[in-house]
Structures are given as structure tokens and as C-alpha cells.
């Protein structure tokens, strides 16, 4: 695909941008347009008032982190529907351990380990038994959700230590929210992992063509399990950050984050069938989506309509991307599926009688 070295070496005039690069350029354009729009429609958008505006990134940073995690899984052609519930579960585990008297930071570490372990477990079940990731993670979503409800008991954990809430939740460094810094670090790591390491190349190859990857000597199952591990770990981080942001955590906080996370990945130009896309696109898409949510809420659009807008955006983005890719004539979502619906055989061929 587009990440192969010889394609990168091509001269980069605007006309010769490949599909991924055009998509990235479009995303940057959308983000700028969106910022300009809110600049005029919302007074004090840049200064940030309370939970809104530019400094209101804490309302979507955790969703962005979940999106980065699930992106690894989508690169391999799988899907992880459990990330939202896992984020909630991670927060509950951390909160309950802390309520039980454990040091908050030790509780955080354990919650992250548990989340990564859940990812490993799901990955192993999927690769070992050759099951559809869709089904296993759907079951996982409900098992984790119910576990959260049962584990939290009657009183959801809340009132965490001040330094924890400051560091992971509301604190800022020179005006930049701490959460944004954490997200930036994770985003940079993701870019490096996907586009600069052997594992990242294998991740994309596995998604592009599993048989080819296997013949090349890539350990396909291991790569997929690793992707699920990263997905679980990132969801766990998001769960801890949710707990710090709201200074409490409930069982139903995580599950609704699944849809925006997948929307961000798809909007970012990652091929939903695996094997293509760029991490920077996803990073930009998380901001487009998050700022859109803030902006709509600020403009007085209800929570419900905002979530509907996310769903519409997901479908429109995928439709437009499919049309664009097909028009550019590159091997892509459309072409790969078109193999399922091949054109009619030429007249007079032997099987037509």
C-alpha cells in the first residue's frame, strides 16, 4: 500500500498525492473550516470557558485515546467492540482497588495490566479458536459491562486523591491540559509504532493480505494478539483518565464511547477492512470529531442529536471514502469488495449455455 518505500520516494506534487494523502489533506481542510466556523459562532471559543471551547479537550481526550487503541486492531482487519466497556471496567477496577485502601498509583498500574490482559485474552480466543473478532469482542463488551456493574456494587467509586485528579484530569502545564500532553505522547508513540517499526509494517501487511503475510514469514496470530493487547491497554488508559476527569466512575460511562472511537478511526482514513491508512489522519479525525461534539453541544444541540450526528458522520465518511477510492482507481475498499460481485463473464464463454 501507500506506506511502501518506493511509493514514498515519488515526487510529491499535489496531483500525484495518493488516496491516503488526499484524504489527509481533506481532513486538515475540514479541521480548519470547523475551527473557523466555531471561531465565529461561539464567543470565547479559543479562551475556553469551563468545559467547552479549545481548552475543553478533556471532554473528548479519553475517546481519542480509545480510538488510537482500536486503530491498531482495525489495521489488522479485525474489530474490537469491547473497548468502550473495557475503558469503563478499567476505571471501576482502579476505583474499587483505591476504595479498598490501595495506593492510587498502584491501583492505576493494576487497572492497566488488567486491561491489557483482557486484550490478550480476547486476542488469544480469536486467533486460537479462529473465531470472528466481531463476535468475541461483542460478547466481551457485555461480559465487561456486567462485570463493571457487579464489581462497583451499590456505590460507584468517587473522590479520588487531589494529586491524581490534578495530574490526569483537570491539571494544566503552561495552559496546556495535562490530558492533551498524555494524548500527544500516545499519538506520537502510535505514529512511531505503525509507521516506523517492523511490528507496524507487519500490522498493516496482516490487514492487507493475511495469506501473503503468512508466506512472508510474519507470525500472523502473534501480530493480531499484539494489536488487541495495545487496544486493551489504550482503553485502560482512557478508563483511568475518565475516572480522573469526572472524579468518579460509573459502569455506564464507557460503552457509549465505542461508536465515536470507531468513527474517528474510519474518518481518519483507516481502511475498515484492514491494511491501509495513516495514523496522523486518525489523530486529526479525533479532533474534528471531538470539537464537533463540543461545538454542537455549545450551540445548544442536545446530547442525543450529537450522538446521532456522530452516526451519520460515520456512514457519510465511509460512503464518501468508498466513492473517492473507487474513482481514483486504487486498490481499496471498493475494489476488494468488488471481488465478491464480479462482472458478468464474456458472452460465449464455456459455462454460459
Amino acid at each position: 500500500m501507500s506506506t511502501l518505500p518506493h511509493e514514498r520516494a515519488r515526487p510529491r506534487s499535489l496531483r500525484r498525492l495518493d488516496a491516503d494523502q488526499r484524504w489527509l489533506a481533506a481532513l486538515v481542510g475540514i479541521l480548519i473550516a470547523e475551527l473557523l466556523f466555531f471561531n465565529f459562532s461561539i464567543s470565547g471559543f479559543w479562551s475556553g470557558s469551563g468545559s467547552s471551547g479549545w481548552l475543553g479537550t478533556e471532554t473528548f481526550t479519553y475517546t481519542s485515546i480509545i480510538a488510537l487503541g482500536v486503530m491498531f486492531v482495525i489495521f489488522t482487519g479485525d474489530i474490537d467492540l469491547s473497548v468502550g466497556a473495557l475503558a469503563g471496567f478499567s476505571g471501576i477496577v482502579m476505583g474499587e482497588l483505591h476504595l479498598g485502601g490501595m495506593n492510587i498509583w498502584l491501583a492505576v498500574v493494576i487497572a492497566l495490566l488488567v486491561s491489557a490482559a483482557v486484550g490478550v485474552l480476547q486476542g488469544l480466543i480469536i486467533t486460537f479458536f479462529k473465531l470472528e473478532s466481531l463476535l468475541v469482542t461483542l460478547a466481551g463488551q457485555f461480559i465487561l459491562g456486567a462485570s463493571s456493574v457487579a464489581y462497583e456494587g451499590a456505590v460507584p467509586p468517587s473522590s479520588f486523591p487531589h494529586h491524581f485528579v490534578r495530574l490526569l484530569g483537570t491539571g494544566t502545564v503552561v495552559g496546556v491540559p495535562n490530558q492533551l500532553i498524555i494524548f500527544a505522547v500516545l499519538a506520537l508513540l502510535s505514529v512511531l509504532i505503525v509507521h516506523r517499526t517492523r511490528f507496524g509494517r507487519q500490522l498493516v501487511l496482516v490487514g492487507h493480505n493475511r495469506d501473503a503475510a503468512a508466506y512472508t514469514g510474519v507470525r500472523v496470530s502473534l501480530t493480531r494478539v499484539r494489536a488487541f493487547t495495545l487496544s486493551g491497554l489504550f482503553a485502560g488508559i482512557a478508563g483511568v483518565i475518565i475516572a480522573a476527569t469526572f472524579n468518579s466512575v460509573t459502569d455506564y460511562i464507557g460503552t457509549p464511547l465505542l461508536l465515536p472511537a470507531i468513527t474517528a478511526v474510519v474518518l481518519g482514513g483507516v481502511n475498515i477492512f484492514g491494511g491501509g491508512g495513516r495514523v496522523p489522519g486518525v489523530i486529526i479525525a479525533t479532533f474534528i470529531l471531538g470539537l464537533l461534539t463540543i461545538g454542537l453541544l455549545d450551540d445548544g444541540v442536545g446530547n442525543n442529536a450529537t450522538s446521532m450526528a456522530t452516526g451519520v458522520l460515520l456512514l457519510v465518511a465511509l460512503t464518501v471514502k468508498g466513492v473517492m477510492d473507487r474513482r481514483l482507481g486504487l486498490p481499496s475498499l471498493g475494489d476488494r469488495l468488488r471481488g465478491r460481485f464480479p462482472p458478468a463473464p464474456p458472452a460465449g464463454s464455456p459455462e454460459v449455455t
Binding site: 467492540l81 466481531l134 457485555f142 456493574v149 475498515i272 446521532m308 456522530t310 465511509l318 464480479p342 463473464p345
Partner: protein, 363 residues
């Protein structure tokens, strides 16, 4: 592809399972089907629970359990249609909700009878399902992503239809439908569910488009070569799922004697319907199964759910129980797990070259 294909064939052929089924007697083959197993499991759970708690066995309770399974059973029949063409629909719960809420409000405000509401519920369901089908077929968006998107859109529509109110008082005819019985202990709702199942089964077995669903789900290429209009079949599968989900909405309205903003979603009907389909022996890899298994599986899930409640387990664990049941069902089913049973997986010491993933038909 052909250059690569030959070594794969060379590797896979010795691994093919022995076909012993054909030598077994008809009775044994029937015993290996999913439907009798489900009946036996349901009865086993029922009698075990009765042994623990004798009041479980009262005719009122049996009637209640069968009735309470009906919204799910009808929904599972609908979910089967998309699963037969390798699809999945996680937007059935809000489709059910929209149908229940909109017919419910009309019935509450105007006293409309359910005879009038039936076409409305079906039309709402079919329309919403059609949207899913168009996105899946023509925009080529994977079913799970499409229906996740429409899940949030439809869920939003359902909530905004309801606002802050809810459907609470229905005309008397609905209550009659709920409480009435045809024979002693055989309620109208059960009859409705069984009729829907039989109609759907006849549709799948006896009509051209029903057979086309199996053909497309089994092998798109072969179906196309056989002259089946693949895209039309795919779209109609999603429309049918929506149609039956709309009907399930009416059943839901009658059973619960009301509906509210979260109807369908709060009861986990999405997961439950998918679980019922898979436990009922219909595969997500397409082209196998039918509606009888999912119907019986819905009753099994409901009875098991009640039994677990009677045993004193915290109801919060219900979704986890269904999740585990779903995982077990697909793990133990060789049709689901890439044509390798649990035993074969455990016996395989070295990973073979990957089989073609079931989601991608080799052109």
C-alpha cells in the same frame, strides 16, 4: 492468486474432516441437529429449577416465560435473515423501539386498534432496514459498522420521538391480546410468535428469494453465476430483518403494555437476538441454519434467565451470562470456528497456513 493457491490446497486437503455423517442413521443425524438439543436443554433447565424451587412449575409461570420470550423470539427470527447472508444487524433494538413507540403513541392518543397498527409497524421496520441494506450493499460499508452507525441514529430518533413522556395506557384490545388465551395456557402472544416463525420458515424453505438468501450467504460468486441478483437479495435481507423487527416492536408493545425511550436497548435485545441466532445454530459465516433454532434458543435463553434469577443470582450478571453463552456456542460449533472444532484446534500442534478468512470470498 492461482500461483499461490496450489500450495494452500496441498496443505488443506489432508486436514479435511472425515465425513462420517452420511453413514449415520437418520435418527442420529436428527439428534446432531441443534433444535432437539435446545428443546432438551430448555426442559433440563426447567426441571432442574423446579426441583430446587417447586413454584417454578406452575402453569402461570410457564405461560409467563413463554410469553416473555416472544419479543426476543420474533426479533431473533428477523436477525436470522441478515445472518444468512453473512450480515449482522445491531440496529434491531432501536428499530423495535421506534416501531413500539410510534404505534404505542397512536394507540394511546387515538385508540387505534392493533390491526391498523400492524402495517405501520411493518412499514417503519422495513424502511429503517432498507436504509441499512442500501448502505451495506451499495456503499459497501461492512454490516457491523453500518448498523453501529444506524444504531446511534435510530436510538436518537427513538429518544426524540418519546421526549420526556412514555406510552403507558393502551386501549383494552391490547390488554386482551396480552392476557387472552386461545386454549388454556396457550396465549395469543405465543401463537403469534409461532405463526411468525412458521411463516418465516416457509419463506426460507419454499420461496425463490428465501433460497436465494442461502445461496448468496453460502457463496456469492456461485449465486451470481447462477443468475441471482445478489445486490437485490442483500438489500431485501436487511429490509426483511427491519420488517420483522418492526413486528417485534408491536409484540413488545403488547407484552409490556407500554414503551419508552430506551425500549429494546435497555433489555439488551441486540446482543440477545444475536446470541439467540448463534445458539440456534445459524452461523454468521452465512448460508447455514434457519429460523426454528433461533426461535427455540430465545425460549431457552429466557427460561435460563428466569432460572438463574430463581437461583438467587444478581440480575446484573445477566448480560455477562449471555456473553459467555454466546462465546461457548461459537467455540463449540465447527461451522463458526473456521471449520475446525474445538477438538481439532486442540489436536493441531503446529499452526497451519491460514485458511481464507470466512469474511472474504475468494474471487
Amino acid at each position: 492468486m492461482s500461483g499461490i493457491a496450489s500450495p494452500v490446497e496441498h496443505q488443506v486437503i489432508p486436514a479435511q474432516p472425515r465425513r462420517r455423517d452420511s453413514r449415520r442413521s437418520a435418527a442420529l443425524r436428527l439428534a446432531r441437529r441443534r433444535e432437539p438439543l435446545l428443546v432438551v436443554m430448555t426442559l433440563a433447565v426447567f426441571f432442574l429449577t423446579t426441583a430446587l424451587e417447586p413454584s417454578f412449575d406452575t402453569s402461570g409461570n410457564i405461560n409467563f416465560m413463554l410469553e416473555s420470550a416472544m419479543p426476543l423470539a420474533v426479533l431473533a427470527v428477523g436477525q436470522t435473515m441478515v445472518c444468512l447472508v453473512r450480515g449482522i444487524d445491531v440496529s434491531v433494538a432501536p428499530i423495535l423501539g421506534i416501531a413500539a413507540v410510534s404505534t404505542g403513541f397512536l394507540a394511546q392518543d387515538d385508540g387505534s386498534s392493533y390491526v391498523l397498527m400492524l402495517p405501520l409497524a411493518l412499514a417503519i421496520g422495513a424502511g429503517l432496514g432498507l436504509v441499512n441494506g442500501l448502505f451495506v450493499t451499495y456503499a459497501r460499508i461492512p454490516p457491523i459498522i453500518t448498523t453501529l452507525g444506524t444504531l446511534s441514529v435510530y436510538g436518537g430518533i427513538e429518544l426524540s420521538l418519546v421526549g420526556s413522556s412514555a406510552v403507558q395506557t393502551l386501549p383494552n384490545s391490547y390488554a386482551t391480546l396480552n392476557t387472552g388465551t386461545i386454549l388454556p395456557d396457550i396465549s395469543y402472544l405465543l401463537v403469534i410468535g409461532v405463526v411468525v416463525m412458521i411463516l418465516a420458515a416457509l419463506f426460507l424453505w419454499r420461496t425463490t428469494i428465501g433460497r436465494a438468501l442461502y445461496a448468496v450467504g453460502n457463496n456469492v460468486e456461485a449465486a451470481f453465476r447462477a443468475g441471482i441478483r445478489v445486490n437485490a437479495v442483500l438489500v431485501s435481507a436487511y429490509a426483511l430483518t427491519g420488517l420483522i423487527a418492526g413486528l417485534a416492536g408491536l409484540v413488545y408493545l403488547v407484552y409490556y403494555r407500554g414503551a419508552e425511550g430506551g425500549s429494546g436497548i435497555t433489555e439488551n435485545l441486540n446482543l440477545l437476538s444475536i446470541a439467540a441466532v448463534l445458539i440456534g445454530g445459524t452461523t454468521l459465516t452465512g448460508g447455514k441454519g434457519g429460523v426454528v433454532g433461533p426461535f427455540l434458543a430465545s425460549i431457552f435463553i429466557t427460561v435460563a434467565d428466569e432460572a438463574v434469577l430463581v437461583a438467587g443470582v444478581n440480575p446484573d450478571w445477566q448480560p455477562a451470562g449471555v456473553g459467555v453463552l454466546l462465546l461457548l456456542a461459537i467455540m463449540l460449533d465447527r461451522n463458526q470456528s473456521g471449520r475446525r472444532s474445538l477438538r481439532e484446534v486442540l489436536l493441531a500442534r503446529h499452526p497451519k497456513l491460514p485458511l481464507t478468512p470466512p469474511s472474504e470470498a475468494t474471487p
